[in-house]
Symmetry: C2
Subunit: 214 residues, 2 copies
DNA sequence: TAGATTGTTAATCGATTAACAATC
DNA sequence: TAGATTGTTAATCGATTAACAATC
């Protein structure tokens, strides 16, 4: 049942490989060696080969990797060959911004609905999808077979809403709220903590200043 | 000059410590042991102590850590005690969403300006700050002493704009464009690649499905 | 076939955890 | 003082890099 576990360090790099391969594909590059890719991506060729071989032998000795094939295979590994129905909870600026990202759809993430508590937003539409009130949530999840929910609500409400979502069958949460969610281990949580990202930037900036002024 | 280098693994965890300590502070918790914090944060106590001791001995044997003191010190380490002037390039949905994040200001990130190429946005204001056209950028950076720029523009323009920003003295870029920036090493780049985050979620969701259906 | 480049094993490096002496 | 808990060294674990035999 359980395959040898792939480390999250590898998973973190996969989408980047996918992006570079997509660009090569657009440029009509047919094949690429781990060495050439390593040069472009600024990682070691050894790491590329090790990473890919976690999932199978996609290359060919003496030739390298076929770009289109590898791109497709990584897409499958990432689950981009399967559609996922997605809803957004919180129709504030960020929620609306994400709702307008049409590029997600190309990767199989289908924007099905968006919810908020603010009655003034009731009926307002984004990309043809009306903002719904939270009391419709339960029914909507079941009817539309939603497996991903995006959480763009204040942290004070995030934990409760997350539990509600999970109780109704949501399988994965893309969490933009500034809090950690403690959910059953079969629920996937991917956090995007923007303020923490900005603090890392700030740290690196400050450190640089300190090193060069003293 | 150069202190012993702190690993990025440690830096990645610092903002999370800061968040938990901030919450403890709000709850009027005066002191905390690495053990208790470890229980709350789901990391080992050993890691907490190791991480903190990269920057100094903030605790006291037999007592633990004073929450307020540790919070303040981590804030300083992260550079949150110093104000940074920030501009946003790209007044699309995401740019506007970030411009509305008043919480950044509390951490010393001062929203000074927002720029776009779309003349229809010219003069529209966000939190009292007018959207400016790109031809004003150069002068604005110099006059307002900008050191952080947020890039929320399409990837096709990101590289050129980033170079322009750096040429005019911007020291750090918070990059939301779906591309890597190749900038001088004295420029700090913090990437937020949302689509890659979503793909990681997708991978973990798909893997779970495969493991449990087969 | 010769040359190129993968797949994979072994070596190294770095990060995490465990243990405990120091000390409040 | 006794108990608690840090700061720090040592041990372990895991991830990255190097090397090279396999093979296209």
């Amino acid at each position: 049942m359980e395959e040898r576990e792939i480390s999250q360090a590898v998973i973190r790099r996969l989408p980047r490989y996918y992006r570079y391969l997509g660009e090569l594909l657009e440029d009509n590059v047919e094949r690429i060696s781990s060495n050439e890719l390593s040069r472009r991506m600024q990682v070691t060729a050894s790491q590329i080969r090790q990473d890919l071989n976690n999932f199978g032998g996609f290359g060919q000795q003496g030739y390298g990797y076929n770009v289109k094939y590898l791109y497709t295979e990584i897409g499958k590994i990432l689950g981009l060959d399967i559609d996922h129905n997605m809803i957004i909870i919180g129709a504030g600026n960020l929620g609306q911004a994400l709702a307008n990202y049409t590029s997600f759809e190309k990767r199989g993430f289908i924007f099905k609905g968006i919810f908020d508590v603010n009655p003034r937003l009731s009926g307002v539409s984004i990309r043809g999808v009306p903002i719904r009130m939270m009391d419709e949530l339960k029914e909507f999840i079941n009817e539309h077979n939603i497996d991903i929910a995006v959480l763009t609500i204040p942290k004070t409400k995030a934990v409760d809403v997350a539990n509600l979502l999970v109780d109704n069958g949501v399988r994965a949460i893309w969490n933009f709220a500034h809090t950690d969610l403690d959910l059953p281990e079969n629920v996937i949580v991917e956090n995007v903590h923007l303020s923490e990202s900005l603090m890392r930037l700030s740290y690196n900036l400050s450190r640089y200043n300190k090193e060069h002024i003293e």
